[in-house]
């Protein structure tokens, strides 16, 4: 058994290592080393915990067994998961952090002696407040992430689920959570504790169901943030520095990502959270659906255009992930490069279903990361490029966001795809994207629509090059 002071120092070290793990992600070269720092920090934290408890008599073997079971499941998932399923995986992982926080809070509530928090029915007030906040946020993270997971997996409909009185009901539940925490702290009653957990699970569920599929980048980032705050709450209860530091890091990380995602859509955080986006716009759109002429082409035409280009910019979106077209795309680009055509990739911040989704898929397909550019870096280059190849993206290229103040996406930063000499747009049909609005780009003089599955079309173009 090591002293409390010594273990506190080790927890501090592991907290610092976690900071270095995130710091490493500032560039791909340092990122792998950063990840090792993170692993080291985790090993230190776990080892110190075993040493500080020092009671190896009874529970130890079971602790190790459960650790091993979880570890094997986790490792198995990590090696088997396809890169396209990363958003679902992250949502699933968030739910586990949330549930673990709830379980730790339950253990601490039932057996406060083990954690030096007092005795059952007489827990220190400060600890009880921290514990109940940690448990409530953990429960919200859990049920919210489960819904996000189901929506991303397609088990649950990706369109918003709304009903009358939704917002007043949610507000009522949120107020009741505060009341329950107050009652729990004043009575120490276990009934209050269980009710609090139940209500928190419920609100997590209700908060996420009205949010549509393409808003998932915000939701996942937000739940990421919540999982951090839950961990921090438990960290205060356990008086554990590593947990407090980590909770704060993860909490602010998720919050920043949510902010970046909201900015990428020019929408306020509350607008996203209140949900229902996309559902209301569709009706107004169907009224003025005049038939406008569209130029459509085949793989041969596309290959001809690209062969005669000197520079091509590729704009991938969620459709590329769905069609698993990233490898086919890379092969097409390889062929283009053999013909001395300059190729770069343009990524919109909200392309895909989670922050950085497209970058991972392109990396998986062996696309070098220095050919991949963010919106601000590449937007001026469209005017000088010969061909823009839009694959699976839609709303993020819509020029309406710059021209029509009436449009629901007005003000959203978009890729200036229309400035290219010609635009190749791979899409299954003319149907509007997530925002429910027509894309003006379809009808431009210089746009050639390629109606097909993204993967098949890309392969066909490669054959024709």
């Amino acid at each position: 058994m090591i002293s409390a002071n010594l273990s506190a120092i080790f927890y501090l070290i592991s907290g610092v290592l976690f900071i270095l793990a995130l710091r490493g992600l500032s560039s791909p070269e340092t990122s792998r080393q950063g990840n090792l720092f993170g692993i080291l920090g985790m090993i230190i934290a776990i080892t110190v915990t075993f040493l500080s408890v020092g009671n190896f008599s009874s529970g130890l073997i079971y602790v190790l067994i459960f650790l091993l079971i979880g570890g094997l499941i986790g490792a198995f998932i990590a090696y088997r998961i396809p890169m396209t399923a990363m958003p679902e995986l992250v949502a699933g992982f968030h739910s586990l952090v949330g549930l673990a926080a709830v379980f730790v809070a339950i253990s601490a509530f039932l057996n406060p002696d083990a954690f030096n928090l007092g005795s059952p029915g007489n827990i220190k007030l400060g600890s009880l407040i921290e514990m109940s906040i940690g448990a409530a946020v953990g429960a919200i993270t859990f049920s919210g992430s489960i819904i996000a997971f189901l929506k991303l997996q397609g088990i649950m409909t990706g369109s918003p689920i709304t009903f009358k009185g939704q917002h007043p009901l949610n507000a009522l539940i949120l107020i009741s959570i505060i009341v329950l925490i107050y009652l729990l702290c004043s009575t120490q009653s276990s009934n209050m504790f269980w009710t609090l957990l139940f209500v928190s699970f419920l609100i997590g569920f209700l908060l996420i169901i009205p949010i549509g599929g393409a808003d998932m980048p915000v939701v996942i980032s937000m739940l990421n943030s919540y999982s951090g705050w839950a961990a921090a709450g438990i960290g205060f209860t356990l008086e554990n520095t590593a947990l407090i530091i980590t909770g704060a890091l993860v909490g602010s990380s998720g919050a920043i990502l949510s902010y970046i995602m909201c900015k990428g859509m020019n929408r306020s955080f509350f607008n996203v959270i209140l949900g229902g986006f996309g559902a209301t716009e569709q009706s107004s759109n169907s009224q003025n659906k005049e038939q406008r002429p569209v130029k459509s082409g085949n793989a041969d035409d596309a290959a001809f255009l690209m062969k005669n280009a000197s520079s091509v910019i590729i704009v991938p979106g969620y459709g590329m992930a769905v069609a698993q077209a990233q490898h086919a795309l890379r092969e097409m680009v390889d062929t283009l490069k053999k013909n001395d055509i300059k190729v770069s990739y343009a990524i919109h911040p909200v392309a895909g279903r989670m922050p950085g989704h497209m970058n991972v898929l392109l990396a998986e397909a062996n696309v070098p990361y220095d050919e991949v550019f963010e919106l601000e870096e590449i937007n001026n280059d469209f005017a000088n490029a010969d061909v823009a190849f839009v694959i699976g993206a839609n709303d993020v290229t819509n020029p309406v966001a710059k021209t029509d103040p009436q449009s629901p996406i007005y003000g959203m930063p978009v890729l200036d795809v229309e400035k290219c000499k010609s635009v190749l747009f791979v899409k299954r049909s003319l149907s509007p994207g997530y925002a429910g609005i027509d894309n003006d780009l379809f009808y431009k003089e210089n746009t050639l629509m390629l109606f097909a599955d993204a993967k098949k079309m890309t392969e066909d173009i490669t054959k024709n090059l």
């Binding site: 927890y11 500032s26 499941i73 253990s107 438990i234 407090i244 890091l249 920043i256």
Partner: protein, 102 residues
């Protein structure tokens, strides 16, 4: 008067939020997905609480309600720790620079 230890923990917490703020803004956007998976893994350091709960039972009573929740939390957090770090490692291994051709 002595300062409540809670204040020290609060100070650590607030300062860590600021550290997190500046560190995360410096993360390159192309690594935002690995950022999420690694934050997932490190927030599972909550496992320390679960281990304390799991080890708390005495010899005649290894399994009580409190320790059972502890054991379950150990497994959940372990899935995240191993899954999170390994999948991050897998993703980061894919980020490669352009090969100098010619």
């Amino acid at each position: 008067m002595e300062i409540d230890p809670f204040i020290f923990r609060l100070s650590i917490f607030i300062l860590s939020i600021f550290v997190g703020y500046y560190v995360v803004w410096s993360v390159t956007p192309s690594l935002h997905t690995p950022l999420m998976s690694v934050t997932n893994a490190i927030s599972s350091v909550i496992i320390v609480g679960a281990i304390i709960a799991g080890l708390a039972g005495n010899a005649n009573e290894v399994f009580n309600t409190s320790s059972i929740f502890g054991f379950l939390a150990i497994s959940l957090a372990a899935i995240n720790i191993f899954g999170g770090f390994l999948v991050t490692q897998r993703m980061l291994a894919m980020y490669k620079k352009k090969k100098k051709d010619k």
